[in-house]
Amino acid sequence: MSAATLAVEVLVWVAVITCLVCCLGLVVMKDFFERLHYMATVSTVATVALLAAVVIEQGWGQAAIKMSLIVIVLLVMNAVLTHATARAARVRNLGHWQPAEGEKIAGLDEIAGGRKDH
């Protein structure tokens, strides 16, 4: 078995196992906002591992270019969809997505330079 074949096998299994673990996390986690995070690993680790496997197997040809497009779409899709879904859940619960009166947001004090009026 050549080094390239071994690398392709390892990368494919990394992608498959990442997907399986993240899908299990989707079911195991109780909180909705915790579940959202599991989509990020699939869209980064698994897709980039598959892209690397395709490039190793076929070189920079038509397949690698199409796979690169898919990786870009999935990366953008995950970021936008995660934000949109979290916002939809918050709006359904509160009626708006801004911080509620007196709500503590972790890290906001550091960002605002210690401002206390939020």
């Binding site: 494919v12 079911v27 909705f32 598959l50 397949a63 779409v73 969809l81």
Partner: protein
């Protein structure tokens, strides 16, 4: 049966937890299962295309990724206030 086809057969099992997530919880919580399933099936189509050595089949995965993106966004937008 090469590594890509074996991997895609194993990856099919990842759809089971997505289905379970889509069957329980609040309406928005179910949407996460659908979005995850969209990504998994996109990767599945890539692996099938590579396993069958058909470069043209990559277009299916690309189309699904774009459609899942639009669909998820529309679902999230409508679930925000109207559904």
């Amino acid at each position: 049966m090469n590594i890509w086809l074996t991997g895609s057969a194993v990856l099919l099992f990842a759809l089971v937890p997505c289905g379970v997530a889509s069957f329980r919880g609040d309406t928005v919580e179910r949407l996460v299962g659908l979005e995850m399933a969209g990504m998994i099936v996109t990767l599945l189509l890539v692996m099938l295309a590579e396993g069958m050595s058909r470069v043209n089949f990559y277009d299916l995965a690309l189309a699904l990724a774009l459609l899942a993106f639009g669909g998820g966004l529309v679902f999230a937008r409508f679930l925000e206030r109207w559904l």
